[in-house]
């Protein structure tokens, strides 16, 4: 499977977002730190200008006259230590802190001011040197201060610009994540809907609620559904045809073998005839069963084809035929019919009855009893066939529902398909198959319970 949309989108988004974050932070840092640093420098320049005015020429000597109260004001700052030094044109210190270094050579004065970074007394300093005319020469008034304020400013700017940007980036990625989830929600809903669908349900999916991006996918799906549905219908037509084509010659074969057996034929010949006859009957039965199995399988029948079937009436319709068969086997076939109606396919439900009653008649010895029941249980309508024959051991009950499985030591002419068909048809009707013993504690009972909450009634859409 390809990487999820979410991961792909994030993979695409993270590098540019990180780049924007970096460039933005750096840009914002420098954009805001320069004017701030300039302002601090300017305040040093102002101090230097103020100091430069205190240089006086007295009797040919340069004098720096600063009252100590004024010096205290100059040196006072909330965060930093402030230093100053006044030098004459030859570099001789006239006043102030002599260890404040001169501007590095090569720096050009801008408007008579040189701003520079310096190092003194083991501290980083920011200094401005003001070139001020004094007497015949030019004095240098240097004002320097430690960088606590500036460092703090830099840190504040950094936090102030990078933090919001970083948060913005994280928020963007989170929004993408949730946006994709939200944007894909209709798809998730759609896939949930498709997952919950009965495999028999080939109706087109409603495209109206789906996002525009999913429409092509839906249209393709619906087209596929349509094609599968059509091919199912073709298969149905083929099966109906095949059954028709097969049954008539089988009926002829059966007629002629029965005719032949009614003739005076040699004993050796009779055994062969009986074999042909029983094979014919088995083949006919098998053809019916395969047809039923194919029809009961997903796609063989659609919920829309289901109509309300009166189970009691269904049993009454087939009762006559089965009573005659039970008479041939000398088994007492009885009924216990209470009203029960289910949405379903009458043909398939009749096939269930044929298989269950057929099985019971097959395995119940003569003078035994078989009872067909319909009615309402607390869980829903039910259809049951019960006998007092040999029964099915509890351990075998699941396996006998499998195709072509026959219990060890089973005699009779069964194909092993009967109960598998019952299970398929029950499945198609959302019914549960319950196997147990007969009411007297022996024999076998098979009950189909049609849950009233069966998904097949989902034709409201």
């Amino acid at each position: 499977m390809a990487a999820s949309l979410r991961v792909t989108l994030l993979r695409l988004l993270i590098p540019p977002v990180a780049l924007i974050l970096a460039v933005g932070s750096v840009g914002a840092y420098y954009l805001s730190i320069d004017p701030a640093a300039d302002a601090y420098d300017q305040s040093l320049v102002n101090t230097a200008i103020a100091l430069s005015e205190r240089i006086k020429l007295q009797e040919g000597q340069l004098v720096f006259d600063l009252p100590s109260a004024a010096e205290a004001v100059v040196r006072t700052d909330k965060y930093d230590k402030v230093y100053f030094v006044v030098r004459d044109s030859r570099g001789q210190v006239i006043a102030g802190d002599q260890d404040i270094p001169q501007p590095p050579p090569g720096l050009r004065a801008d408007d008579g001011v040189i701003a520079y970074d310096a190092q003194a007394r083991d501290r980083r300093l920011r200094a401005v040197a003001l070139l001020a005319p004094c007497g015949a020469g030019t004095c240098t008034v240097t004002v320097a201060e430690t960088t606590i304020k500036r460092d703090r400013l830099a840190r504040d700017i950094l936090i102030g610009s990078v933090l919001p940007q970083g948060m913005l980036a994280v928020l963007t990625l989170a929004l993408v994540w949730f946006g994709v989830t939200r944007g894909l929600a209709p798809l998730a809903r759609l896939s949930g809907e498709i997952r919950q669908r009965s495999p028999r349900d080939l109706r087109a999916i409603d495209e109206s609620g789906a996002p525009a991006e999913a429409q092509p996918l839906l249209s393709a799906l619906n087209k596929l559904f349509g094609q599968v549905d059509e091919s199912n219908r073709n298969q149905q037509r083929f099966l109906a045809n095949a059954a028709h084509q097969l049954r008539t010659p089988l009926a002829g074969l059966q007629a002629h073998t029965e005719l032949a057996m009614a003739q005076p034929v040699p004993e050796a010949c009779r055994a062969e005839l009986e074999y042909v006859h029983s094979a014919t009957i088995r083949t006919a039965r098998l053809a019916n069963q395969l047809l039923a199995l194919a029809r009961a399988e997903p796609g063989g029948n659609r919920p829309a084809d289901f109509a309300l079937v009166d189970l009691r009436q269904l049993v009454e319709e087939i009762a006559d035929e089965w009573v005659h068969r039970s008479m041939d086997k000398d088994v007492d076939l009885g009924f216990d019919l209470k009203p029960a109606s289910v949405p379903g396919d009458a043909f398939l439900l009749r096939e269930v009855l044929a298989n269950l009653i057929g099985n019971s008649l097959e395995y119940t010895p003569s003078a035994g009893h078989v009872t067909v029941k319909t009615g309402q249980s607390p869980e829903g309508a039910f259809l049951e066939v019960e006998d007092d024959g040999p029964g099915i051991p509890a351990a075998e009950r699941d396996r006998v529902l499998e195709r072509f499985y026959r219990m060890p030591g089973t005699s009779g002419t069964g194909s092993g398909l009967g109960l598998a068909i019952v299970r398929e048809i029950a499945l198609a009707h959302g019914a549960r198959v319950e196997m147990g013993e007969g009411h007297a504690g022996h024999g076998c009972s098979v009950r189909l319970i049609f849950s009233s909450h069966a998904p097949i009634s989902s034709k409201s859409a």
Binding site: A243, L250, Q254, I281, A319, H324
Partner: protein, 224 residues
């Protein structure tokens, strides 16, 4: 007794006709619906065995033509299809019985006997079932030639069963049939009348079988 078989499959048609001939019926074979409809118009048959899936006009159409021309002979439909619709449609259109292919020949023969008997019962006032004879116009019954006393309700129940020999009849159907008499009977009452009928008929070999939880069936009469 003359039977018309309408079936396009030669093997099956010949099988059926030989079995019915062996039972002593005169049999005519037709392969198409057109021929069958024409033959039924010109000749008189006691029973028509009619395949639904015929080339040309199908069995339903033949049946429709027969009934629209007022032909009331019993019709037994044969079909290779499995749809319940065929069965319901056929019976609605006036068919008397219905068999799905393939079927066992003894069953076909039994149904043919029952249908012919019913056809005769409807055509005349006398209903004959082995040693039992009901003269419906005179309301007199005899068993082995001896007069048989039947109460009015016993007669009614017996008539319902006789109309459907070898077919199971639900108690509800019997009650329904008797409600024409303007009486509402309980299920228990039906059991009482059947029990009395058994007492009168069984010594002569006329048997009414109980179908547990369903109803009854008047068995075909067999000698001995």
């Amino acid at each position: 007794m003359r039977i018309l078989i309408v079936e396009d499959d030669i093997s099956l048609a010949s099988g059926i006709s030989r079995i019915l001939e062996a039972e002593g019926y005169a049999v005519d074979l037709m392969k198409t619906g057109e021929h069958a409809a024409m033959a039924a118009r010109q000749e008189s048959f006691d029973l028509v065995i009619l395949d639904i899936g015929l080339p040309g006009i199908d069995g339903f159409e033949v049946l429709r033509r027969l009934r629209s021309e007022g032909r009331g002979m019993p019709v037994l439909l044969l079909t290779a299809r499995d749809g319940v619709d065929d069965r319901v449609r056929g019976l609605d259109m006036g068919a008397d019985d219905y068999m799905a292919k393939p079927f066992a020949m003894p069953e076909l023969a039994a149904r043919v006997r029952a249908l012919i008997r019913r056809g005769q019962a409807q055509s005349g006032p006398r209903i004959v079932h082995g040693p039992l004879v009901l003269d419906t116009s005179a309301r007199r019954a005899t068993l082995k030639g001896e007069p048989l006393e039947l109460a009015a309700r016993e007669w009614a129940v017996l008539e319902v069963l006789l109309a459907r020999v070898e077919k199971i009849v639900s108690k509800e159907a019997i009650i329904q049939a008797m409600s024409n008499w303007g009486e509402e009977l309980s299920l228990n009452a039906i059991e009482v009348y059947v029990s009395r009928l058994r007492g009168k008929l069984e010594p002569a070999g006329v048997r009414i079988r109980t179908v547990r939880g369903f109803g009854y069936m008047l068995e075909e009469f067999k000698e001995g």
